[in-house]
Symmetry: C2
Amino acid sequence: MEEIDRAIVAALTGDGRLSYTDLAEKVGLSVSAVHQRVRRLEQRGVIKGYSARVSFEALELPLTAFVAIRPFDPSQPDDAPERLAHLPEIDSCYSVAGEDFYLLLVRVAGPADLERVLQEIRTAANVTTRTTVVLSTPYEHRPPKISAEPAVRGRSRPAAESAGSTAG
Amino acid sequence: MEEIDRAIVAALTGDGRLSYTDLAEKVGLSVSAVHQRVRRLEQRGVIKGYSARVSFEALELPLTAFVAIRPFDPSQPDDAPERLAHLPEIDSCYSVAGEDFYLLLVRVAGPADLERVLQEIRTAANVTTRTTVVLSTPYEHRPPKISAEPAVRGRSRPAAESAGSTAG
DNA sequence: CCTGAAAGTATGACTGG
DNA sequence: CCAGTCATACTTTCAGG
């Protein structure tokens, strides 16, 4: 990916509702060109979609917790993510290396809700849980570093490109 | 918050670029009314902003890890979040209950990058780290459950519903 | 791959139930 | 608090360098 595409992605991660007009000004292209690039980025899957950022406190889900799970019986087929997908309190599910099998991020209304969700997790996926309550969130979902200077790290790339220089 | 506002928030978490026209159709109000409600939701901080969802693989950040940290010297002032904020590889920082002080979510290009970031975390915040590598992400950042559970029992005027299968 | 322009559509403010 | 209208701005497509 090249410099202008990175600038577009960076701008849209900061404000997903930026108009093509503003975007064109930011990156120094015409509106049509920017529009074309955004469509290509969406089509290639670089931009997967757009979301509103909501306040979980305002949605009455002020309690966040990480729930590490591991199966009671490791010989059983491991389909925990599917068996837990129906629980709307689970924000994210990560398959992890280490002692645990999965790490879940859950958001609930309070301790009583957390207790209920933990029970549902245990019964639905036949797992044990180890829960870490989040006390506060200094920052979350920060835009990734998308610099204009792509650092090539140890992967083979087309021979025509050379590290650190702009390619045509 | 009431039912229609919840429906609006749910729709916008699923697609942050929905037009007010589409939104009005979904919730069964006029464009003007929906527009007014969205502005109030933004103003009240329920909707904090809009973002593009990007593919971290496409951004050449395919390696995700959780880094639990705790200070070398617990008597020192605990300002780890500020001292780590400058590291762009840190996606999120959670203050947690339990053995560790903070849980960081980091995204990097590969193992070599992870090693470098861990060193930077340790020196910048004077902490020890315990890292859990993410192998895969079955799902992430799912829209929270918003509707169907009003806080106060009571029914306002029924809104005409049409075409309801969005944002589970 | 870019620019520029034209048609269709959404937005934002305002009037009025 | 909701609906309708209108001027302005944006989006989207098409022709062309």
